[in-house]
């Protein structure tokens, strides 16, 4: 465990970190059992500080909350894969498109903190409306055997999720910029030196779901002319280990 980042448990539970530090710490938290235990204990501790500030809200709030509940659908239990992602850099359109269930599953990570993202609330209704549109993606995300790899580049990131039982592959880009002109991002299965197209990212912030029907050591993403290419015409801008 990195001693310095471990010192941030206190600031983290107090929500006293900047957004970037919070993200970095949560990424660390996902891998650090000792930190997770400490965070848990310190949360119980800060809760006690919070109890000391108790103050009755107006009675009208109660009826508003209970009325809100009657109009709010609950999420099903979580059984999905655990992938360390944070919502902030997740493009809003992707978030809107994903089923609420799968986002929450993605963000669950064994801590609750991932559910906290403002975007989730803000897009909740849109999420529910478009839930069915991303059935395929949800299917991959929630598959019990889903395996994920998350790759961070300088300004962008990509998450790759594979479910053998579903035979599906999901490539979820985060923060990728528009390719120049009419160009388009193309995803490749790369086995040894041999690339085979896995499909196109129709838009730089929309996930690609396709059949996981080709062996691969890594996935590569290249910029290709409109319509895509039979073989890559440029060096990959990103290479991600193939999950599993």
């Amino acid at each position: 465990m990195n001693a310095d980042i471990h010192m941030l448990t206190g600031a983290y539970v107090l929500n006293a970190l900047s957004e970037d530090e919070r993200e970095a710490f949560e990424a660390h938290l996902a891998r650090c059992t000792a930190c997770a235990r400490e965070v848990h204990e310190l949360r119980e501790t800060t809760a006690r500080l919070g109890f000391a500030a108790a103050e009755s809200p107006p009675a009208s709030l109660r009826s508003r909350v209970l009325a809100g509940v009657r109009n709010t659908r609950q999420l099903p239990p979580d059984e999905g894969p655990i992938v360390p992602l944070r919502g902030r850099k997740w493009p809003l359109r992707v978030a809107t498109g994903l089923a609420a269930a799968s986002i929450a599953g993605l963000l669950a990570l064994g801590t609750h903190s991932m559910l906290l993202d403002q975007e989730l609330t803000e897009t909740r209704q849109a999420l529910e409306r478009s839930e069915h549109a991303y059935g395929e993606l949800t299917e991959v995300l929630t598959a019990p055997d889903a395996d994920a790899v998350h790759h961070d580049a300088e300004d962008a990131a990509v998450t790759v999720i594979v479910s053998e039982s579903r035979g599906k592959l999901a490539v979820i880009p985060h923060g990728m910029s528009e390719p120049p002109g009419d160009d388009i991002y193309q995803v490749w299965f790369i086995e040894g030196d041999t690339p085979t197209s896995a499909g196109l990212l129709a838009e730089p912030d929309r996930p690609l779901v396709t059949d996981a029907d080709h062996p691969a050591d890594v996935l590569g993403i290249t910029v290709e002319p409109a319509g895509g290419s039979d073989a890559p015409t440029s060096e990959p801008i990103m290479v991600v280990a193939y999950p599993g």
Binding site: L42, E44, A47, F51, L66
Partner: protein, 198 residues
């Protein structure tokens, strides 16, 4: 009251009889039980609202955020994982995070420096001042008093005022690293004093 945080969360009804714990209620809420949710609200609303209001100040916005917190609890009840902590602590975590996020995004457009510069209240005493005779409050107050001044100031500025640790460092004119450390060791000392255990 002692130890167990969940125990601290078990409220007494007017007759003194024990009510269902938040954990028991949450399990029912997860199955869509609105009545259980209403009870959960009754048990936690003062705490959630009080904390949100402490951070945000503005009563109308505090109500709004409190409502969001409870709807989030309702929505995600089936995902609640009791191995990750008590329902009460989780509710407070949600409440604090939302209140702080709201305050910070509102300030992103205004001069945040102004807020820091204008800080005049003696924030770490305000808790103690408002402490009632309730046992819980007394214990928190007693434990806060066991902290060093820097620990006490850092923790209460961050928690009750919603400051980032770098803002706390500027306010206290203390190096960043020191504040980082004090936040952690201050909370650890509080944890031990309050008898919070896993």
């Amino acid at each position: 009251m002692h130890g167990e945080a969940t125990e601290g969360a078990r409220p007494l009804s007017a007759s003194g009889a024990q009510q269902a714990t938040p954990e028991e209620l949450m399990a029912r809420v997860a199955r869509g039980d609105e009545h259980a949710f209403a009870q959960l609200y009754d048990q936690l609303a003062d705490r959630v609202f009080g904390l949100v209001r402490r951070v945000m100040r503005d009563p109308a916005q505090s109500e709004e955020v409190t409502q969001e917190v409870f709807l989030e609890l309702w929505r995600t009840a089936a995902r609640f994982d009791s191995t990750q902590g008590s329902v009460a602590a989780w509710s407070m975590t949600l409440a604090h995070r939302r209140a702080v996020d709201r305050v910070r995004s509102a300030q992103a457009s205004t001069a945040r420096d102004t807020r820091v510069a204008n800080l005049q209240v003696d924030p770490y005493d305000s808790v103690a001042d408002e402490v009632t005779s309730r046992l819980e409050h007394q214990q928190v107050r007693r434990c806060l008093e066991t902290l060093t001044t820097v620990q006490h100031e850092s923790v209460t500025l961050a928690y009750y005022q919603g400051y980032t640790y770098s803002e706390v460092a500027r306010l206290l004119d203390t190096p960043l690293g020191t504040v980082k450390t004090r936040l952690r060791d201050g909370l650890i000392r509080l944890r031990d004093c309050l008898g919070v255990t896993r």
